[in-house]
Symmetry: C2
Subunit: 333 residues, 2 copies
């Protein structure tokens, strides 16, 4: 049961989450390393704490770490003695790379109360001033668990997401998450940056920039976001990004060779290879709604059962009871 959510850090994500929870009637207690947004936050119905002790004194059921990764060691160190006194509290976060967060949580001796989380929400802005409850509209969260994660803690985080935030979730292990995030975000951020680097190096860059239209604008939008934030994200997931960058380089080199050789059949094959993804996008776009069904969650091996569900393209949208989830079934790629 989740009544009160603690939010650590009122930046873009933490601020948006706190606003959305408060707007939906959930009790939210927040702490920010600089108290500057407190007047506005309190006007939005968010209880603001002077320090993490005051946040924990408000008896949150779940504490969501929305601080930057570089602040994680100091935040975790401050939370460790407080969580030792409140062992029922579940700790989660919103970081875009899950392996590194769990490592830091483990180093702080807090792994027993931790469940990882990553809401797929964000934009090119940052800070409280950009925080918006609608940032989470229709968002999907990845919730990451391990073999020894306590089911009850997963359930608290999952309830917060489905019932209080009104979002969907899939359950993954850290590695599967970090590989998938590298695929659809971290590696593409590098590719986008490489595109603007290439234009910057082009002797006719003013002409190219003048000619640029929708394709260029869309493909370079993320390269215009704070490059330090992107760099941090890429470095945290370096192992997975590296592999995908090499695969992309090989794909681009192959295509260069095929164009050089005017190999029409290979070029045609290259453009056809992504057809399953095109069909998937078309199926999603043409679905007015998705089928829901119930999924019994086994007591043993629940992590694997939920990972397989995610692999089938399913997402949890709620719970009938502790061991019975409502899942939404979407088309597969």
């Amino acid at each position: 049961m989740v009544d009160t959510v603690g939010v650590v850090g009122l930046g873009l994500i933490g601020g948006s989450l706190a606003r959305r929870l408060a707007a939906g009637g959930t009790r939210v207690v927040a702490w920010n390393h600089r108290p500057h947004p407190y007047a506005q936050a309190e006007a939005d119905g968010i209880v603001c704490a002077r320090d993490l002790r005051e946040l924990m004194d408000a008896a949150p059921d779940v504490v969501v770490l929305c601080n930057p990764l570089k602040a994680m060691p100091s935040v975790l160190a401050a939370l460790a003695p407080l969580l030792a006194q409140n062992p029922r509290v579940t700790l989660t976060d919103v970081g875009s790379v899950k392996g590194v967060v769990r490592e830091q949580v483990r180093e702080a001796g807090l792994e027993a109360c931790y469940v990882g989380a990553h809401p797929m929400a964000g934009n090119e802005l940052s800070g409280w001033s950009a925080a918006d409850a609608h940032l989470f509209d229709d968002a999907l969260w990845a919730v990451t668990v391990e073999e020894d994660t306590e089911y009850r803690r997963f359930f608290d985080v999952a309830s917060m997401i489905t019932q209080h935030v009104g979002n969907r979730l899939i359950v993954l292990d850290d590695e599967t998450h970090d590989k998938a995030a590298a695929m659809i975000s971290h590696m593409p951020h590098v590719v986008s940056t490489a595109l603007i680097n290439e234009l910057t190096a082009n002797p006719d860059r003013n002409i190219a920039a003048a000619l640029s239209a929708g394709c260029w604008r869309d493909m370079t939008r993320v390269a215009l976001t704070d490059p330090d934030r992107t760099r941090a994200m890429v470095e945290e997931d370096a192992v997975n990004v590296e592999v995908l960058l090499r695969r992309m380089a090989a794909r681009l080199t192959d295509m260069a060779d095929w164009l050089h050789d005017a190999d029409a059949s290979q070029v045609r094959g290259f453009f056809a290879e992504g057809d399953p993804f095109r069909r998937y996008k078309s199926a999603i776009a043409h679905s007015d709604s998705f089928a829901n069904r119930e999924l019994e969650i086994p007591e043993s091996g629940w992590q694997q059962a939920l990972l397989f569900s995610a692999r089938r393209g399913e997402a949890i949208i709620g719970f009938v009871h502790l061991r019975q989830a409502i899942i939404q079934v979407r088309p597969s790629v």
Copy 2:
């Protein structure tokens, strides 16, 4: 002086152009290889011709070829005898690769009346049903000329663009255009396609697709457009695309190496390299308006003078008289 514009092909671009010209009060005569959009086109004030002879009989000052490139040989063959009888008529087109079009125009013996053009407008749709006068809102055209292009013919096309369509233009040679278009469109289309190919090949593609958000959506939008149209565009500009794909592959491989070696300084450098483009985008975004000034166009070497103007980040927005252009000065990259 342009009074009447002929439009060959009422697809997305031709249809949008014809609608915009007609809506602005310019007399438009159009021909389409299948007459199906004629009832709607006529309702929009577009005069529809049964064949190219009837189109030429309507005495257009400029004829804009908006047909697919593969139809170019047959369209040019049909136009050749008609243009021989109407030598004042200037021929132009809207193709996204200029070198190949000029070659076909030359093969049809029509180079003397031809000026290349490429409006930077489009979307992922196609066909008359998607045609929209607003597609050309604030569009920039590249107009391509050669050493022996008659100034009067350039002026007719430029007048149509600035005065009748209400757009801006820059003047390039075919090669500069095709290289720049490869940079900001053709090569990025291949990169976008490589991204969806990579996801399709990923064993956890359903999880990756579920996690995908704004970054992935924007970077793969153009990969979802008609892959045959993209393939044709890339093959037409193969030489320039090949070079850029190899450069991009080298950039991605370098970054993979730096991530592998945890070379923080190189990684930092990679993310800083595009700062001039970030500053340019910021300067554009923060400009309420751009300065205009007049540019005298010399009788001899006007092609080079206008190319240099484009390299400085300037665009023609109108004419005071035949040899005096009004140019808009934008920030440089």
